[in-house]
């Protein structure tokens, strides 16, 4: 078969990124390479990967085939083998399709956004590497290979968040993301070690793991599941490791779009869905996941209502939507969670691109209260943003409605009414803060009419249109049965579907109605408060919500400071007084003994002869004693 093409889905972006990197070095050191070369190379790889992914998708329709390709044996330690293996089942290929598609559109957008940047080639090098890591993550056939992609995504996010490295703040934001992710990765590593210990003996790919999990004691499984979820928390920015996500806005806007829509943050959700065989055995951990997701969703939504930075609002909204996804996967509705990942990729990418277009047009102004009245100036961006906002709010028939409805249905039907209630409350808040953003930016009265707008290039507008179209239709593949659809996502991801979740049709309609009502309430409040908002005074917020519940300060006070104190103690006390003493003492001892011994080498021939003969007599005496 042509299973080896699986490897090429990952290899194409990887090779392209390496080529881009070398070309960029060549370009800055030797001869300047025109940007168009970087553009062509950087943009072609996601689309080639998409086409290969699509060919696998076509082969999978109507059957349950799983494509496996073992490229080579990567590690072989004591009878324990790790293959560089790729696996494509329906979940992986579903992820691959939208990662490459949305990722490709973001690449196009970036080619417009970064046009004048001097690190153009470098940017695409990171971008392609990011995509390759994410594809490796979803196509891996074992947790270890997945971890390579996992770390690759982490390091690329670090590169990209601190892309404008001239400003220390951005570098710190990159550091923060990297360190917060590191905490999560520790959980992942602990989970992997435990899995290797308990079930790794006959192969470590998912298929063997699934078979081996059945015989593992339940408390060990609980431990593995919890540790894995810590990894997911770090990567997907849930309570308590979410602090890096808002700061990640320091990167260029296409980076935010890529991190929030197609790659990186969805990795945690994907991981929980990938280990569904594990989480099916431990519903208690699943419940914890759902609660963490629910509280993260609410928490982020509350913070988002008071933010003024357009990108931070969107960042918190991502965290909130990820919370929804975790509610779904935690309660066993893996296909539902992945469906929301899918629709979210479209509208979130669209929101970020729209925001980026506005930011570029206004010469990198990010405060929404200094924008205003953009509707007449950038009508296409306005319509794109409107569609995306309707989609995230959950107004039918836009994409977000179907997936969010299914998530809340899952919560309700599993009997977790508290989670359901939080979900509905979050939906109201989502509608409120998203329409607040939209109304203020596009409808509010503009007091800076005279400003000349920066032109938005065609390559930035084109993906907006495609994604706007996607945000309308992406939900249609998951229309639930009661609305006359046949839930293609659910049947495609049949293995990840929890069939026990079922409610009567009448209830389902009522729930749907509640969701729409929630969206409308939020929208109405936002309309009352912010449609025709007077922009003369930029509102000064204060209070606990504007300060993001002082989470950063609390972490700073109780964790960062303590760690710093310990570090300072170690570096200035332990290191100087103890480690240095040993190291320097040793070297001084060597110097001293060297000086002492060098006295023996005094250039006195007779002295040497004396030692020679002493040595010979000692050795021969010894030999005589031994040989006897």
């Amino acid at each position: 078969m042509n299973n080896f093409l699986l490897a090429w889905i990952v290899l194409i972006p990887l090779l392209s990124s390496m080529t881009l990197g070398l070309m960029y070095l060549f370009s800055i050191k030797v001869i300047k390479i025109p940007n168009i070369v970087f553009t062509v190379l950087g943009l072609s790889s996601p689309f080639l990967s998409f086409m290969i992914g699509f060919s696998f998708f076509l082969q999978m329709i109507g059957n349950h085939e799983i494509f496996l390709y073992k490229a080579y044996r990567w590690l072989s330690v004591d009878g324990y083998d790790i293959d560089m293996g790729f696996m494509a089942d329906k979940l992986s290929i579903f992820m691959v399709l939208f990662i490459t598609f949305v990722g490709g559109l973001i690449h196009i957008y970036a080619s417009g956004y970064m046009k004048t940047d001097k690190g153009y080639g470098k940017f695409f090098f990171y971008f392609n590497l990011f995509l390759a890591s994410m594809l490796l993550l979803v196509l891996a056939d074992s947790p270890i290979i997945m971890f390579i992609g996992w770390e690759g995504v982490g390091v690329c996010s670090y590169f990209l968040i601190s892309y404008y490295y001239e400003d220390t703040k951005n570098v710190q934001a990159g550091n923060k993301a990297f360190i917060a992710n590191r905490v999560g990765d520790l959980g992942f590593i602990i989970a992997m070690i435990t899995m290797i210990y308990y079930v790794g003996s006959n192969g470590f790919d998912y298929i063997n793991l699934e078979a081996g999990m059945q015989n593992v004691p339940i408390n060990v499984l609980t431990f593995i599941g919890s540790a894995l979820f810590v990894g997911a928390i770090g990567k997907s920015a849930q309570i308590p490791l979410f602090v890096w996500l808002p700061d990640a806005m320091a990167g260029p806007t296409p980076v935010s779009a890529l991190i929030h829509a197609a790659t990186m943050v969805t990795a945690g959700v994907y991981m929980v869905a990938r280990f569904h065989f594990l989480y099916d055995l431990i519903p208690n951990v699943g419940l914890i996941i759902a609660y963490v997701g629910a509280f993260s969703a609410l928490f982020a939504a509350i913070i988002a209502t008071k933010q003024t930075d357009i990108k931070k609002i969107l960042a918190y909204s991502t965290m909130s939507q990820l919370g929804y996804m975790f509610i779904a996967v935690g309660l066993g509705g893996y296909s539902v969670g992945i469906f929301h990942v899918f629709t979210h990729a479209f509208f979130k990418a669209l929101l970020f691109m729209g925001a980026g277009a506005v930011i570029v047009a206004l010469h990198h102004e990010q405060n929404i209260f200094k924008m205003g009245g953009m509707r007449s100036k950038t009508p296409i961006v306005y319509f794109a943003m409107l569609i995306a906002t309707l989609a995230i709010t959950g107004i039918p028939p836009f994409a977000g409605f179907f997936s969010k409805d299914e998530i809340l249905l899952t919560a309700f039907s599993s009997g977790e009414y508290l989670i359901w209630g939080i979900g509905v409350l979050t939906a109201i808040l989502t509608a409120y803060y998203m329409f607040r953003l939209l109304f203020v930016v596009f409808h509010g009265k503009n007091y800076q009419e005279s400003r000349k707008l920066h032109t938005i290039s065609k390559s930035m507008i084109m993906p907006l249109i495609v994604l706007a179209f996607g945000s309308i239709v992406a939900g249609f593949i998951g229309i639930p049965e009661i609305l006359g659809g046949n839930n293609l996502v659910g049947s495609w991801l049949n293995d990840w579907k929890n069939s026990s979740l079922h409610v009567e049709h009448s209830r389902e309609f009522i729930l749907m109605g509640i969701n729409i009502l929630a969206a409308v309430i939020g929208t109405y409040v936002a309309y009352k408060k912010f449609f025709n908002y007077d922009m003369a005074i930029v509102p000064k917020y204060n209070g606990i919500i504007w300060k993001k519940f002082y989470i950063d300060e609390i972490y700073d006070r109780f964790i960062v400071k303590k760690v710093k104190e310990v570090s300072i103690f170690i570096s200035y006390k332990v290191d100087v007084n103890f480690i240095d003493m040993i190291v320097m003492g040793l070297s001084r001892g060597f110097i001293k003994s060297g000086h002492f011994i060098s006295k023996v080498q005094n250039a006195n021939t007779r002295f040497y002869a004396f030692f020679m003969l002493v040595g010979i007599s000692v050795i021969s005496t010894y030999l005589i004693m031994v040989m006897r």
Binding site: S598, Q601, N602, A603, N604, T605, R606, F607, A609, F610, L613
Partner: protein
């Protein structure tokens, strides 16, 4: 027979020790050289007396070889002494310190 072997070996040891002391205590290169020869001959004496004791010819062959080599060595040694004397106009072994690193350190 055993007593006479012991006395031969005792003589050889005395000769060797005299040679050894000569090497480490005298400065004159000629005396050093003579002391070395004395030590060689002490060894020869041991070889020959042991050969006699065990009634075998092998140690005698060894002794002959040592004498032959010592003769060749004498030629080399003496010519070296001539060269060294020409360089420093002295026979004091302590002043030939060209190869030492003593000065580099202090």
């Amino acid at each position: 027979m055993a007593d006479s072997l012991l006395s031969y070996i005792a003589l050889a040891m005395i000769l060797f020790s005299i040679g050894f002391l000569g090497v480490i205590s005298r400065k004159n290169i000629f005396i050093v050289y003579m002391s070395i020869e004395l030590m060689l001959n002490a060894i020869n004496l041991i070889f020959i007396s042991l050969g006699r004791y065990y009634e075998t010819m092998v140690p005698q062959v060894m002794a002959m070889i040592i004498i032959a080599i010592a003769a060749a060595e004498a030629a080399v040694f003496l010519s070296l002494i001539v060269v060294l004397y020409r360089r420093k106009k002295s026979l004091d072994s302590d002043i030939f310190t060209v190869l030492s690193q003593k000065d580099a350190h202090e």
